[in-house]
Structures are given as structure tokens and as C-alpha cells.
């Protein structure tokens, strides 16, 4: 499988790949521009790709800018993550019907959704692997996630640049896509270098007109990927992390960051691994049918921790502490991995530019007495 030599195809062949996947009943999703951001949406044509655009990111800032070339995947990551396809923002769990004998409960029917993701970055492959552990690795399985995950086809695209907010090298998740994909592309000027990660990937690739990659192509691809590595500036030391956070639960910095944090939940919504959810009753008042629906929730919502009518975490600093200590600390004990993949979304999309790497550093520099 993985020892199959890298292939090369011309850019136009990507359309053939999309067509082939659609012919095989996959819903192909990938990057496209909407509301001045590169988001993930259903793709039928390569014309929808953000060709010639890039994203400039900084804490609290995201702007699309014209590139001086015509690259198709010449951006980093946007506000969307792929989790919306595997762990949708709204999912029906149960249908309840009133009968003459009382209430009856019907498990939700699983949708048959074959999804092919095009343009998955290395940090995003890592995020999917993290959510696999959360939803499938424990004693209870999330059956909806499981069914979506089973029928997933993954086309990774290696980063050829990095944003100022990226720190995947610190989290050891990127920028190079190493495993967990069916196909992995590296974009060069004349086309795509394609690594094959699975039999399914190889099979689908039969729809494209392939050429053997030349040494020149391989070199160009390598230098493109190296460019991303060299652009990464942000770093976070991780070796001492769970313990550092555990030892500093009463650190004064929590209060300081709590004063800046708006508790807006943006960081948790854009995070590709955050998995918290709530269940609500969706009731049609004219009938005796109720759906129980699961929606994304956030530990930044005060009602998230309600216990006996009052929140356990009643102030923003307590909620920020919960998020960060969970993401970088207790996640390890729960799931055997960090909850952070270094994508930098929470930094970019924080309206006040709170940077978790800086918060960790602040605590490390001046530990609580």
C-alpha cells in the first residue's frame, strides 16, 4: 500500500478525482470561499476551490489576500474544521412517540453518509485521530460518529506555508501528512504529487491520468513542504504540560486571562477536537412526537456546568481554566493524547486574541507560589 511510489497528476485531473468519488456516492467536501473566509463545503467542481487566494492570520485576525500565483491550496486553515462532518453540530439521538400505552422510544436511524474530504491538513488528520479516541476509544461508542467515520475517504493536502498562529511542530502533528489518509497530495506548479495511503485511495486514483513522478517533481514538492516547516514561528513546550497545569490550578494568571476572555465560545467552536455537546428536546406542539437532539456546546457557557440550578464554574476565569487544563492537561489521562493539535484556530478566532501558548508560557515563567 504505502510502498506504492508517489504518483503525479496534472491539476485538471483533480476534477476527475472529484467526479469519480461522486460517482461512488461520496459527498465530496472541501475548501471554498464564503463570507471572506475559506470554509469547507460540498464540492462538485475544482472551480469552487480558493484558487489564487491565501489567508493571513494573527491572534484575533483572519484576512483573505490575493496570492501572486494561482495555487489551489495556497492557504492554511480556516474557521471550519472537518469535525462538522463526523460530529455534526446537530444530530438526532432519539425519537419519542406518545402511544395509547404511554411513551415509546425509537433510536435515531443512522444516516448513510459517505463523505470524501479533500484538502485535509496534517494537523486536521491528527484532530480526526484525537476524536476517534474520544468517540470510539472508550467503553461507550458514539454510533453516529462511528458510522460516519467508517465511510470516510480522506484526501490530505500538505501545507506549503504556515500562518503566524500555527504550532503543529510543537504538537508533533505536522506540517507533513504522514498517515491516516487515503491519498495525500502536495501541490506544485504543474500539478499534484500524490502519495497513496490505502487500497481505497489507489482504487479511486484509477480515474485520473497518472504519470510517474520525476525527480524534479519530487524535489519541488519537498521544497514546498519544507517551506511550511520553515515558516512556523510559534512554539509551545509540551513535555511538562499536564503537570504544570495541575500544579497551577490556583495560579493568578487564570484571573488575568478571565478578565480578557469574553466567554464567547469561539475557541471551542473552531477547535477541531472540542467535543462537548448538550441534548435538547425538540417538540412539535401540535403532535405527540419529540426528538432528542444533540447540539455542540461549550465549557464557556455558564449553564454548561449547571448543578442544582447554579453553575459550578460561575466565572470566566474558571471556565477558561477548565478549557485549557482539559485541552492540554487532563485530556492525556482521559484519552492518552493531548487535545491540542497546534492548528492555531483558537488563537486566530479569539476576538480578543488570547493565545493559549502565551498563557501556558506565562504560567511556566512564574509558577504559583
Amino acid at each position: 500500500m504505502t510502498d506504492r511510489a508517489a504518483q503525479f497528476f496534472r491539476k485538471a485531473e483533480l476534477q476527475a478525482l472529484i467526479d469519480e468519488l461522486r460517482r461512488r456516492d461520496y459527498n465530496v467536501v472541501g475548501p471554498s470561499i464564503d463570507q471572506e473566509a475559506i470554509v469547507y463545503t460540498e464540492l462538485t467542481s475544482v472551480e469552487q476551490l480558493p484558487r489564487g487566494w491565501t489567508d493571513e492570520q494573527a491572534p484575533g485576525s483572519y484576512r483573505l489576500v490575493r496570492r501572486d500565483d494561482d495555487a489551489w491550496f495556497g492557504y492554511v486553515v480556516g474557521p471550519h474544521s472537518w469535525k462538522k462532518y463526523l460530529f455534526p453540530p446537530r444530530t438526532k439521538l432519539l425519537t419519542v412517540q406518545k402511544t395509547e400505552q404511554g411513551w415509546s422510544f425509537l433510536p435515531a436511524v443512522l444516516e448513510n453518509t459517505k463523505t470524501a474530504m479533500l484538502g485535509v491538513r496534517a494537523c486536521e488528520l491528527a484532530a480526526i485521530a484525537v476524536q476517534d479516541r474520544v468517540f470510539l476509544g472508550g467503553p461507550y461508542k458514539d454510533r453516529d460518529y462511528e458510522s460516519r467515520r467508517k465511510s470516510l475517504f480522506l484526501i490530505a493536502v500538505n501545507c506549503t506555508q504556515a500562518a503566524s498562529t500555527c504550532f503543529c511542530t510543537s504538537m508533533n502533528t505536522g506540517p507533513r501528512c504522514k498517515s491516516g489518509f487515503d491519498l495525500a497530495l502536495t501541490e506544485i506548479e504543474s500539478g499534484f504529487l500524490c502519495e497513496i495511503g490505502s487500497d481505497a485511495g489507489w482504487d479511486v486514483l484509477s480515474a485520473c491520468e497518472l504519470q510517474t513522478a520525476t525527480a524534479e517533481d519530487l524535489n519541488e514538492a519537498e521544497s514546498q513542504r519544507q517551506r511550511a516547516v520553515e515558516m512556523i514561528e510559534r512554539q509551545m513546550r509540551t513535555d511538562d504540560l499536564p503537570q504544570l497545569l495541575l500544579d497551577n490550578l490556583n495560579h493568578p494568571n487564570w484571573k488575568a486571562v478571565g478578565e480578557r476572555c469574553l466567554s464567547c465560545t469561539n475557541c471551542t467552536m473552531v477547535c477541531p477536537t472540542c467535543f462537548c455537546s448538550s441534548v435538547s428536546e425538540v417538540r412539535d406542539l401540535t403532535t405527540d412526537q419529540i426528538d432528542r437532539e444533540r447540539t455542540w456546546d461549550s465549557c464557556f457557557n455558564p449553564e454548561f456546568s449547571y448543578l442544582g440550578g447554579t453553575p459550578v464554574r460561575n466565572d470566566t476565569s474558571a471556565r477558561y481554566r477548565q478549557w485549557l487544563t482539559h485541552k492540554l492537561g487532563s485530556w492525556h489521562e482521559q484519552f492518552g493524547t493531548s487535545g491540542c493539535v497546534g492548528c492555531g484556530r483558537c488563537i486566530t478566532w479569539c476576538p480578543v486574541g488570547i493565545d493559549l501558548t502565551a498563557e501556558v508560557a506565562a504560567m511556566r515563567e512564574a509558577p504559583a507560589p
Binding site: F105, A108, P139, L246, N250, S277, V279, R321
Partner: protein, 285 residues
């Protein structure tokens, strides 16, 4: 590791229709329900470990995590003692015998019965905290000879709040040292006045190293029970508490009930004190 019913492992949202068979009013705002599954009158449908809980669901209102409070050896339904505290329990309190609701479970960890065998066992209950402990007390009564001294300290705000008062005589007769205390004496009360830890502090305990403490009640009470027990020389590894947090999925998948690294629903509700100690005293964690 607690046994997980295979059907729940693949779909923790699997909900069954349960019919209210009996309602026993305990005291103000607290009632005990016996729920029988429509699909089964077989005792094997009600298997649980003392300390575990079910999610009770009132359609259109929501779910609430309620511990089992019946006898695990003689299950003739799900027995739940419920206090009116929020929307779900308020709606539940309006239901009558014969009406239906949803049940899924059992979930969570049970009391560490194998670790209590051969030990002096101290059970400390505060208010409604006796409900999740009652299945354990039934077990201790039934297998009394497997344990050394068994003490049960029950505290409540007033005498009227002492749960299951008609059972204390049976438990005493079975060889359990039942001690009661109230925060506030009302007319006719001749017993102890004060917090449960006052009784724990002066409890006669031979071989302190062979003692184990299990406790359930308000969180603040359990913290002090843990501290008092440790002050008396009982190691944190021999103290267990039953925690309460906002539980929604009951399967460690929704994130609500975390306390430090523990998902209270899945890793608890019964947790060893040494595991909770770093987190229990941190405010708003």
C-alpha cells in the same frame, strides 16, 4: 472495571419505556418510585451494582441522573428515591402510578464492595445521600459476616429529613451500628445534634488501618468526611465518595460532568478520595 451492558456500549442513548408501579412519599419533596420496564418482568432486566445510577427521562422536559436505591439482590423493578430539585424532577413528581417515562442505564461505578470485605466499614450519609448508599447497606446486612464492624452514620437537617427511618431498626438488628444526627433539633428529638463528622470523629474504631469509609451527601459534607477520616488515620485510598455533576450523556461523551480528569458519569460517580483530592478543594473547578 464496571460491567457495561453491551446494548449501552454501542448506543448509550438506548431508552426503555418504564411504568410507575409504586410511589412512596418519603418526606417533604422526596418520593421513592418503583419503575417496571414494559418489555420485561424478568429480574435480570434490573441488574445493577450498588452505587450505580439510571438516567430518568420525562419526554419534553429532559433527563436526570438518579441513583438506584433498591436491593440489588431482589430487584422487582428500578427503585429510585427522587427529590424535587429542577425541571425534570418537578415533572416526575407530577406523574402518577401507571404513567410511563424513559429509563436508560445502569451507568457509572458502584461502591467498592470487594475492597470492603474483611474491613471495618464506616458508611456516612447526609440527607438524600442515603439513597445511593441503601443498596450497599442492604448488601452489608445480607453478607454481614464478611465484614468487621459496620457503622452507619446518617445525618439530616432535621429529624423529618432522615431518610428510610422505618428501616433503621432492621439494620441495627442485623448488626449495624446505626447512629443518627440532625443539624437542628425539633420537638421530640432526643438524639445527636451536629454534623456527621462530629460522630465520625468520636466513632470507636479498632484497627484504624482496617477501616474503610464510604460516603454520599452534599459535596461540602463529603470533603469534611474525607478530611476527618484521614485525620483519624484512615488512608485516602480507603475512602470512597459518590460525586454529583451535570450529567447528560452518562457515557463520558458530552463533557459536562468533568472534575479534573474524571468524567463523573463514567469514571464515577463512586470515586476514591485520593483520586479526587487534588481537585475537590479547588474552587469552581
Amino acid at each position: 472495571m464496571t460491567w457495561i451492558p453491551p446494548a449501552l456500549a454501542v448506543n448509550p442513548w438506548l431508552t426503555h419505556t418504564a411504568r410507575i408501579a409504586d410511589i412512596v412519599s418519603e418526606c417533604d419533596g422526596i418520593a421513592t418510585y418503583r419503575l417496571c420496564l414494559d418489555t420485561s418482568d424478568n429480574a435480570s432486566a434490573y441488574v445493577f451494582e450498588p452505587g450505580q445510577f439510571n438516567m430518568l427521562y420525562v419526554p419534553g422536559v429532559g433527563e436526570s441522573a438518579i441513583s438506584m436505591s433498591g436491593d440489588a439482590h431482589e430487584p422487582d423493578g428500578w427503585i429510585h428515591t427522587v427529590r424535587v430539585a429542577g425541571n425534570v424532577t418537578r415533572s416526575l413528581a407530577q406523574l402518577e402510578c401507571g404513567q410511563t417515562l424513559g429509563v436508560r442505564g445502569p451507568f457509572g461505578t458502584g461502591w467498592p464492595i470487594p475492597q470492603l470485605v474483611g474491613k471495618n466499614v464506616v458508611v456516612v450519609a447526609g440527607g438524600l445521600g442515603l439513597a445511593p448508599l441503601r443498596p450497599l447497606v442492604y448488601h452489608l446486612v445480607r453478607h454481614r459476616s464478611q465484614f468487621q464492624n459496620v457503622s452507619l452514620i446518617v445525618g439530616a437537617r432535621t429529624a423529618a429529613g432522615l431518610l428510610y427511618p422505618t428501616e433503621y431498626a432492621n439494620w441495627t438488628q442485623a448488626g449495624i451500628d446505626v447512629q443518627l444526627t440532625v443539624d437542628r433539633a425539633t420537638a421530640g428529638w432526643n438524639g445527636n445534634i451536629g454534623v456527621v463528622t462530629a460522630l465520625l470523629d468520636r466513632l470507636k474504631l479498632n484497627q484504624i488501618e482496617r477501616a474503610s469509609v464510604v460516603t454520599c451527601g452534599p459535596e461540602v459534607m463529603m470533603k469534611y468526611v474525607g478530611m476527618s477520616a484521614m485525620q483519624r488515620g484512615i488512608p485516602a485510598e480507603q475512602i470512597w465518595v459518590s460525586m454529583e455533576r451535570n450529567m447528560q450523556c452518562a457515557a463520558g461523551l458530552c463533557g459536562h460532568c468533568q472534575l479534573g480528569p474524571a468524567f463523573i458519569c463514567k469514571d464515577g460517580p463512586v470515586l476514591r478520595y485520593d483520586r479526587l483530592q487534588p481537585y475537590l478543594f479547588v474552587e469552581s473547578l
